[in-house]
Symmetry: C2
Subunit: 404 residues, 2 copies
């Protein structure tokens, strides 16, 4: 496309690249395609009847609020309900409503954190691999991004310390470590308790903040829950991002971010100039779902639904994939991460897979350093259960043909 | 509030100040207060019955889309409908759907324009006075803001040219002129046709872009409509921001921005890392309102409703206010702008007004240069019609007592 006004663009706009996944998703309108690509919830899980019932009630009863501007912080009763949930269900005892900001998706929470914290050249550490929405948000503020390896127990803390010290030696300040604690995107792995504690120690020792991103945490299918970083934090160094997109419905664009009071206040003020306030309709709808205990019932149903899909995908991988291929076995969330034997290239594989009407996301874009060419991410949530085996079989055939 | 993490904030976060109006609004929960403060639509205008009817239909019929992620550009059929409206109703003949980006309120359109265009130190010209949401958005990107006087015919073009040349001499580039074309916030004035044409001439001559902000344009109560800058533009230099917040419901946080294709594409890519996509529920609801011609019926009802409120407020100002006070007579929108005789200070007046349970917005925060201490903004939309006379009488008494 011709950039006829390109000479007037800001420097930051020249370097931002489109999210590859979101670009890929636009090609997926073909209903024959079996998609393991998007991190999208299964549309079958949307609580349509109850949404209609609640909309009828709340649109009528609270019209003057539902359709009007709200405060930038978010609906007071929703912030209170979320604080109560954080106290009761996540072991974050002292949390107060004014430590919570309702956001337009958790992407906005990351964006606002970047806005409030990142000066050009400040270092943000992220996983290798990591969710690239976060990378994109921090990059908008000219963050210097550093990568830390992720293994089966999550982000490596020896890697964090090493990177912090290296940047320190080179005269740069690590301000923020972005970490996905549960069912990591794209790897599906969970940060161990030992590493959680170590991360907070490092944050105190080297004076940085931690952005704990936990959109999938409520969707645990096996194993024991671990305490949130924010529950372990004694220094107010954690900014905790949660979301309704994965556990409920993404179309309502509702998430929240919690943290130290004055920092959250800064983010609220910034939000006034970003989008004024979060959609009030969505806030009222979700508040009613929480008030009636329907959100928790919905989450329980989703856990059962996705657990069987995860089990099915792992079973089909075991059954069909050649032994040279490795993959993670997630305890929750949406993703299985596959490592192909080198020198197989997942980007090349994807081109052939599209021809066979099965798609996934190649792993390389999740790696800051350009590694991961032989990796790929499979989502087990979006495809219908009765198509998962067929999709995995097509991929397995392809991989086998590449292996020769 | 103690900023215990303040040493970790970004430079930009240290300088952002809270929107005074949004702070004031939080104090307005007292139902005895007569408010001429917020630029909020009258809650009486919200189409509750039809919203419920449409929600019932569209939630059921299109659940898999309504509750799911959408594309960052916005719902395709809504973009098409908005392009068709721009062609048919605003005389913008060639506009195509991919020149339109659906945003989470028009504040986001300004934010994205700032993000894509403004490098630190680039100049953005705004009115004296101007809507300070725009100022805040551009300031986040370290824009150098310049002020241009606004009079009864809108922003002064001799002032624009003078400022552009002055900055040029001083080595700064004017990249953007932000202008409100219809029923200016806070002044209520409309940019004359002659000045619209002149602004586009200047944009071409000095190579800058124009952000045309037009949230109130559909709410004209008297006089003839003027063509949008975008309809007059032959060089693709206009970024046109429209909104459903003032003409319909702000709670749905829905707006759109139109412009040159490659520039809009840059804004779409930026939006991926800002909030992924705009609320899909809201987009489906509004699309149905447009498809059924209900939006236009609603706008017509709102015009009649607000016209009578405007007439009433102007009548009451004529009747009660002392002759030393001056005010604008808007042809549309939400606001009357009042100039008190100097040295009266509207900020001081507001403190006393709060005690008498009537509130407005002092004018000074709308002026970049700190002038306007003797001005104030009255909104005639929010207060119930049967309270407008009482509110104006209280204010008039106060002004009279100050005049001594």
């Amino acid at each position: 496309m011709e950039d006829k006004l390109g000479h007037l663009y800001a420097e930051r706009a020249r370097t931002v690249k489109a999210s590859l996944i979101r670009e890929l998703l636009k090609m997926l309108l073909n209903p024959n395609v079996i998609s393991f690509a998007g991190g999208w919830p299964d549309t079958e899980t949307f609580p349509v009847d109850e949404m209609i019932e609640i909309a009828n009630d709340v649109f009528r009863r609270r019209a003057a609020c539902v359709f009007q501007y709200g405060t930038s912080e978010g609906l007071p009763e929703l912030r209170e309900a979320l604080a109560a949930r954080a106290r009761d269900r996540e072991g974050i005892p002292g949390i107060e409503p004014d430590q919570i900001l309702i956001t337009s998706g958790s992407q906005q929470g990351m964006e606002l954190a970047g806005r409030v914290l990142i000066d050009p050249g400040d270092v943000v550490l992220v996983g290798l691999p990591t969710y690239f929405g976060a990378t994109g948000a921090f990059r908008s503020y000219q963050a210097h991004l550093g990568g830390v390896p992720v293994d089966e127990a999550g982000m490596r803390m020896d890697g964090v310390e090493e990177e912090v010290r290296r940047h320190q030696r080179e005269g740069r300040k690590v301000k923020l470590v972005y970490v996905q604690t549960n069912f990591h995107n794209p790897m599906g792995v969970t940060l161990s308790l030992e590493r959680r504690e170590k991360l907070l120690e490092l944050a105190a020792a080297y004076d940085f903040l931690v952005m704990e991103d936990n959109p999938y945490g409520d969707l645990r299918y096996s194993g024991e829950s671990l305490p949130a970083l924010m529950a372990l934090d004694r220094e107010d160094r954690v900014i905790y991002a949660r979301s309704f997109s994965k556990i409920f419905c993404p179309g309502i664009r509702l998430a929240w971010v919690a943290g130290e009071k004055a920092l959250i206040r800064r983010m609220v003020i910034s939000k006034q100039f970003v989008d004024v306030c979060t959609n009030t309709l969505s806030q009222h709808l979700v508040y009613e779902f929480i008030r009636k205990d329907s959100l928790d019932r919905r989450i329980d149903l989703n856990i059962a639904h996705y657990r069987s899909k995860r089990d099915l995908m792992l079973e089909m991988l075991d059954k069909h994939f050649p032994p040279e291929v490795e993959w993670t076995r997630p305890d929750g969330g949406f993703f299985v991460f596959v490592t192909l034997p080198e020198p197989l290239d997942a980007g090349e594989l994807l081109k052939d897979a599209i021809d066979r009407e099965v798609v996934f996301v190649a792993g390389q874009p999740f790696f800051l350093d350009g590694s991961g060419a032989n990796t790929l991410r499979l989502s087990f949530t979006g495809a219908p259960a009765d198509r998962i085996e067929e999709g995995i079989r097509r991929l397995a055939d392809l991989v086998r043909s590449k292996l020769g």
